[in-house]
Each structure stands twice: as C-alpha cells, then as structure tokens.
C-alpha cells in the first residue's frame, strides 16, 4: 500500500494500448496518454520475476508495462506443476482506493490447469491510480482460465495489463467484466505460439457517466491450426468514452488457423463516444480471419418485442445492463469478487434490482 496523500511525482505515459497496426492519427483512436504517479524505488530491492517473463508482449505496451513493474513492490511468481489441477484460483486483489499495483508472473506447466482472478475494487472518493500486470506462460496442453473484474471509483484510474504465451495445444479462456472506473486502461496480448493453441476471450463492459474505458486486445496466431475467438459486448451511457482496439494477427506460418473477433456495442445516450478499431493482419494464405462490429441502440425488433411485454424503453435498456451484472455474478469465483460485483450493481441498478439478482442466484446479501 502506498501513501498517495503527499504530492507524488508524476509521469506521462504515451502511446499506451497501441495496437500493432494503426489507423489515422486524427481519429485519436490509436492509443491513450496517461498521467500516473511515479514513486521512486531507488535504494530498494524487490523480488522480480524470472527474466523469461520480460519477453512476453503485454496489451498496454512496453511503457505502461514498465511503469507497473517499477511501481509494484515484490513481484509474485506462481508456478503450477506439470499435470496439476490447481483447485484454488490465483487471486490478484487490487484495492483501487489505495492505488495498489501488482506484478504477477504465472507459469502453468505442461498439462496443468489453473484459474487466475484479478479483482479490482474501489469506491468513489480520493483519486488514485492502481495497476495489475499479469503475465502467463501456458506450456504444452496447459489450461488456463483468466477472470478479470474491474469496479474502481469514478475518480480512480486503473491500468490492467495481461500477456499470455500459449504453447502447443494450450487452452486459454479469458473473461473480462469491466464494470468500470474513472479511467480504465486494459490491454491483453495473447501469443498462440504452439500448434493447436486456442483462446476464447469474452469481454463485457459497462461504461457510464464520465468514465473512460480504453481497451486493447491483441491475439498473435503463430502456430499452425490455432484458434482465436474474441467477443466484446458492452453498454455505454451518460458521457462515457470507450475505445476498443482488437487485433487478430495471423502470422506467417500459422497455416490452418482461424481468428474471429466480434463486438457489439449498445449506446444509451447521445453524449457517449464509441471508438472501435477491429483489425485483421494476415500474412498467410491458408487461414481464415473474420471480424464484425455492430454499434447502435436497441434494435427496433428487439425493442418492439420487449414493449409488447409491457416494458418501457428505459426498462428495456436497463435489462441489458442487468444482464451484464447477472453474468458477472455468475462468473465470480469467490465471495470477495461477488461482493465487489454486487456493490457495483447496487450503485448502478439500485438495491431492489441488486437484491433480485442475489435472490435469483441463491446468494446472501453480501453475495456469499
């Protein structure tokens, strides 16, 4: 925990969340610039990750990754032994109120299975900047599940960076629930190095009021017959600003690989700004790359269906938000995460709806 009450030197991080290929600069969709605190670590010695983790590409880019590494105290290294099915999730708990910064490296040995949970929680209050850097090496046939939940305060900014290397036949599942923060910068880069490696990635976000969410998803498909399935679904309301860059990179040699990326954005207010840059880079012929995006309000047919059942437009739109919390609660693997999601649900949807969610899932009021 760091004391941020005294004036802390600041650092400007440029070209954060930059995708491998960029669009026109005047669209201001290629990256984000962040001002972050910079605590001096001179004279201290902390535990650092083994050097092979330095070679892992992370979603937020080298500058922001270096910042997290420089600000985290002891890095945490976790190794899951070959063939082990680790029952307890590896939890990275980030208190955004305190500006926690974590640097975690996880080695999942051949055939092992593990679950990683990043839980970012904060309340509206003092400004703070938190960070979580999770780098994962999934060896041959390993199975890794990554669950991320971000619900920081409206005055807080959080940097969430993930880098994954997947060897032959490794399976990676990522589920992200960005219930949001004053400013969220979230990047994930996955390198499917081995033949037959696969990632299934679902990202759901709710960005509202004056929140900013800047998201960068990169999948490099290097091995043969790799599979990438990336789906983003989100709701924007109030004066929210969201940018999503999603890249499927079919590298030369990735014959037989398929990459798909789809985004669906529901816009609930005329004051929101949505930027989407879905990119396919293809340097191989025997591959398939697809992406799609759908951006707009509730479709007229869907809305008519709901109106026929007595719902107003506002109620219909609220259903989509509720569904997001419903799914996040179902996916939440620990009581702490459920409590975090539930607290945000109470703030966004109100106590009645939150209680309804709890009841529907058979949980107690704290989400346990």
């Amino acid at each position: 925990m760091k004391d941020q009450t005294t004036a802390t030197p600041e650092l400007t991080l440029e070209r954060v969340n930059t995708p491998p290929a960029q669009t026109w600069n005047y669209l201001r969709a290629n990256d984000i610039t962040l001002t972050v605190p910079q605590l001096s670590r001179k004279g201290d010695v902390y535990f650092a990750l083994p050097r092979l983790f330095e070679g892992i590409e992370c979603g937020v880019g080298p500058q922001a990754t270096a910042w997290v590494v420089s600000q985290a105290a002891d890095a945490r290294y976790v190794e899951v032994r070959a063939g082990e099915r680790k029952a307890e999730p590896i939890v990275v708990d980030v208190d955004a109120n305190d500006g926690d910064v974590h640097d975690v490296g996880i080695m999942v040995r051949a055939g092992a299975e593990a679950c990683v949970v990043v839980n970012v929680h904060g309340t509206d209050g003092e400004p703070a900047t938190s960070g979580a850097l999770v780098r994962i090496i999934a060896e041959r046939g390993a199975k890794i599940r990554v669950l991320e939940f971000v619900a920081a305060g409206s005055a807080q900014q959080h940097v969430e960076s993930v880098g994954i290397q997947a060897a032959q036949d490794a399976r990676v599942s990522v589920r992200q629930y960005f219930l949001c923060a004053g400013t969220l910068v979230a990047g994930i880069a996955t390198s499917l190095d081995g033949d037959g490696a696969r990632i299934d990635h679902a990202c759901r976000y709710l960005v509202r009021e004056r929140e900013v969410a800047d998201i960068n998803h990169v999948v490099r498909q290097r091995g043969r017959n790799t599979r990438a399935d990336v789906r983003e679904t989100g709701v924007l309301d109030g004066h929210a600003k969201k940018a999503l860059r999603a890249t499927i990179d079919l590298v030369h040699g990735s014959k037989g690989s398929e990459g798909t990326e789809l985004e669906s954005v529901l816009m609930l207010s005329d004051d929101v700004t949505n930027k989407t840059v879905p990119t396919i880079l293809c340097d191989e012929d025997d591959v398939s790359g697809n992406h799609g995006a759908s951006i707009g309000p509730v479709g007229p047919e869907q809305f008519q269906y709901l109106r026929d059942r007595g719902l107003t437009q506002q109620e219909a739109e609220a259903l989509y938000v509720r569904a997001l919390f419903d799914e996040a609660l179902i996916a939440a693997p620990t009581p702490e995460v459920r409590a975090n999601v539930l607290a945000r649900a109470r703030m966004v949807l109100g106590d009645d709806v939150a209680n309804d969610l709890v009841e529907g899932l058979g949980l107690n009021e704290e989400g346990a």
């Binding site: 669009t23 600069n25 969709a29 949505n274 990119t279 591959v287």
Partner: protein
C-alpha cells in the same frame, strides 16, 4: 517518334503491353527536378494564372516543406525522392478539340487505350491529359447546350464567368494543409478537369478524363473539380495508366466533388498506374441534403498507393455508396480504402470492398466511419473481403468507427481467406485447368465491382484481372 527501348521490369511475368509503351520525350518542355519557388512560379506563369492562385501555390509549397509525414503510416515511400522528380513535363502541343489535331504519338497512345473509340460510342465528353497538360478536350454539343461545362481548370480560370466559381470552391474541400502531399499538389498542380452541371440537368452519358503519364521520373498533379447542382445527375469516369520504368514516378492528384441538394454523382475510377508509381492521391466529396454520392474504384497498378476517397454526408438524408476492388501483385504495396463522415440526420453509407493479394503483393484496407453528434438515425455498413492467393502475400484490414450518436447504427464485417480447394477441385472436375478455375473464382469475387461499371470498363477491369492472374499458378 521512335519508341524507347523497353526496359526489363519487376513485372516481367505479366504481359502489360496494352499499357506499357513509351514514346520519346524529345522536344517536350521539362522543368528541373525538385521543388523550388522558381519552379512553382514558372508553372503559374506558364498558365498565366490569377495572382491568388500563385499565392496559393507558394503558400502550399511552404506547407509541403514544413509538414512531416506521420511516422506510423502505411507502406514506405522512402523510394520517392522529390529531388529526382520533375513536377512539370509538357508535350509541345496545344489542347485540341479534334483527335486529328493531336500529335500522332499522343493520339496513338490514347487510341491504344481505346479512348477515342469509347468517346464515339458511349461518352458525353472526354478530357485526355498527357503528362502535365490536357492535350484533348471535347464534349458533345447537345450536352453543352444544356449548360454543362466540362473544361480544364486552366481554361475555367481564364473565363470571367467561371473564374469566381473556381476561386470559390478550389482547395476548400481538400485544404493544402490537409497532408504533406496535398500541399505538394497545390504547389505544382497542372491539368485536370472542371465540370459544372446546372440545376436539374441529367447528363445521359458519362464524362471521362484519362490521365497518361509518359515521362520517366516525373509527377502528375491534376486537379479535378466537379460541381453538380441541385437535382442534377452525372457519371464521371477517371482512368489512368503509365508505362513502366525503374525510376520512381509520382501521382499526387486531387479530386474535389460538390454534390448539391438532391443531386447524384457517380465517380468511377480504373487506376492502372505502372508498378514504379507512387500513387498518393486525394479525393473528397461533400454531399448536401437528399443527394447521393457513388464511388466505384478499381485499383490495379502503382508500386505504393495511399488512396482513401472521403465522403462528407453533410446534408440530411444524403447517402454514399463505395464499391471498390484492389489487386496487389508482385512489388505492390497498396494502402487503400475510404472514409465516410456522417453529419446529417438520416444519412446512410454503404461500403463494399474486395481485395486480392498475389505474388507477394501487400494490400491494406483502411476505412473510417465517423458519425457525428447530430447524425440522428444515421446508418452505415462496411463490408471488406480479402482473398489471399498465395502464402507470400499479405492482406491487412484496419477499419475504424467513431460513433457519437446513440440513434445511429453501424455495422462492420470483414473476412480474409483463400480460394477453397473444394471450389478449385469442383471446377477442375468440369474441365477447367487449375489456372482457369482460380481466375474464374477471382473474376466472380470481383463481379460486384465490375457490374457497377459501364460495360466497356467492366471488360477492361476483367481484362486487368486476367492479366494479373496470368502466371498465378506456378
């Protein structure tokens, strides 16, 4: 005139003799390579321009020298050295209204390209530019009688009726400071077309401008300015080609299109520059209420292209369709696409593009769809399909969407893949060779674009595809 000895080029596998022929520049007026205020003044003096145009050129030159290229942009243009490009080359001839008055070598050039024949059969008017100057310009009398003006910018500037119109519109849609090569264009522009279609007039046949760059190590910087008044209708066709050289050539034209209330403009392009050409062209249209802009674009040539026609749907209920195909073969790195800005309410945009990469060619499709705050109920859809014909080529798609209105809907889809073995096998089992089968599939892939073109241009496009597909199978 004797033909120059043809040099061996990087594209020797394809017979492009239809486009690859060179006539001597002997006797031509050629300005020194490089960019100086004296050269800009000389071009302006040669055209006896009004002072405002000279001032605009000189200011643009200053902008060119001070403006930097974005460091993170597209294919490299490091091979382009402006110190080795002549910005003005002109044959010693005056603009003619009859092909009989055009010098033989130039006339032969356009005859081989089929321009006079197309003019006789299916065009309302033709402008033919050879290097830096228009050498032939003519329009059918009945079209002229309806008040349609189709001339060069230079002639319009010398006409008291049209000089104020040129002054009002020229450089307003694409400002000189737009980007480095827009600035270059305004400094040294020469040739191009000025078209004015009066209110309510429908031009039954297309107008066509054809740009031929014959000179080695030269640039072509034509400016096209088209104003389609309220309720009018025009189809404008632009064609371009050049013979191949080892030395870099440059095309940095500009196209400014103004489509007024309820009007319709279709702008078709078959671009077949030679593969030593840097094609850094800028095209932009502003579309008023209830008006429609249609782009049909076929990009086959050039070494490097930066080409992204832009449509600004300013008026309510205005619409835009963009249909394009890009074929990148050996040594080509083509960065193409389009931009649409939807500002008016109930505006619609539809983008449908195809790209084909072969023999190590690189295609990058870029698009941007920007929906402004006031674009209530705007609708936009973007579809991009890319075909990879071998594993040494490359195809990237980089679309961007910026949506700022909650009632707007934007859809986007893109796919990249190859010709399936099953399809080739099916066609081969019915008697096609593998090469024929692949050519047929590519032809079918391009069909949505070619069917948007007049028949003779669709035939030309299909011929270009066949040319490019020759030697596709090792």
């Amino acid at each position: 005139m004797s033909e120059k000895t043809q040099k061996r080029t990087q594209v020797a596998d394809v017979d492009r003799s239809l486009y690859d022929f060179i006539y001597s520049e002997e006797g031509y007026e050629r300005y020194d390579d490089g960019l100086t205020p004296d050269i800009v003044r000389a071009i302006s003096a040669k055209k006896d321009e009004p002072e405002w145009m000279l001032n605009m050129r000189l200011a643009a030159l200053e902008t060119y020298h001070t403006k930097e290229m974005a460091p993170n942009w597209g294919p490299s243009i490091a091979g382009l050295d402006m110190d080795h490009i002549s910005t003005y080359v002109s044959p010693k001839t005056k603009q003619a209204k009859s092909w009989d008055d055009v010098p033989d070598d130039i006339k032969n050039t356009f005859e081989r390209l089929g321009i006079p024949e197309a003019e006789r059969e299916s065009l309302a008017g033709v402008g033919a530019q050879y290097d830096s100057e228009i050498v032939y310009h003519n329009m059918r009398e009945e079209v002229s009688k309806e008040g349609v003006v189709y001339t060069t910018i230079e002639d319009a500037l010398h006409d008291p009726q049209w000089e104020p119109v040129v002054r009002k519109y020229f450089g307003t849609l694409i400002p000189p400071a737009d980007h480095k090569f827009a600035a270059l264009h305004y400094a040294v522009w020469s040739g191009g077309s000025f078209v004015y279609v009066p209110e309510g007039v429908t031009v039954a046949y297309p107008l066509q401008s054809y740009f031929r760059l014959n000179a080695e190590g030269a640039g072509q910087f034509e400016h096209t300015l088209i104003i389609v008044e309220k309720g009018a209708d025009l189809h404008f066709i632009e064609g371009c080609s050049a013979p191949k050289y080892y030395e870099a050539n440059l095309h940095a034209g500009a196209v400014e299109l103004f489509v007024k209330d309820g009007a319709r403009l279709r702008y078709s392009t078959i671009e077949n520059w030679s593969k030593n050409m840097y094609n850094l062209n800028t095209k932009r249209a502003r579309v008023a209420a209830d008006a429609k802009m249609e782009w049909v674009s076929g990009s086959f040539g050039s070494h490097v292209s930066y080409l992204y026609p832009t449509t600004i749907l300013q008026g309510d209920r205005s619409s835009c369709e963009f249909t394009g195909i890009t074929f990148a073969g050996a040594t080509q790195d083509l960065d193409t696409g389009c931009k649409v800005i939807l500002n008016g309410a109930n505006t619609t945009a539809s983008v449908d593009t195809k790209s084909i990469s072969k023999d190590g060619g690189c295609n990058t499709f870029r698009s941007s769809v920007v929906i402004g705050r006031h674009a209530q109920n705007a609708r936009a859809s973007v579809s991009c399909q890319s075909l990879m014909l071998d594993d040494i080529s490359r195809s990237d798609t980089i679309p961007a969407m910026d949506v700022r209105n909650a009632t707007a809907s934007v859809g986007h889809e893109a796919t990249i893949g190859r010709i399936s073995d099953d399809t080739v096998l099916y066609l081969m089992s019915r008697g096609c060779s593998e090469a024929e089968a692949r050519t047929m599939v590519v032809g079918g892939f391009a069909n949505p674009v070619s069917k948007e073109l007049p028949l003779e241009y669709a035939v030309e496009m299909n011929n270009l595809i066949k040319l490019e597909m020759e030697g596709a199978i090792g």
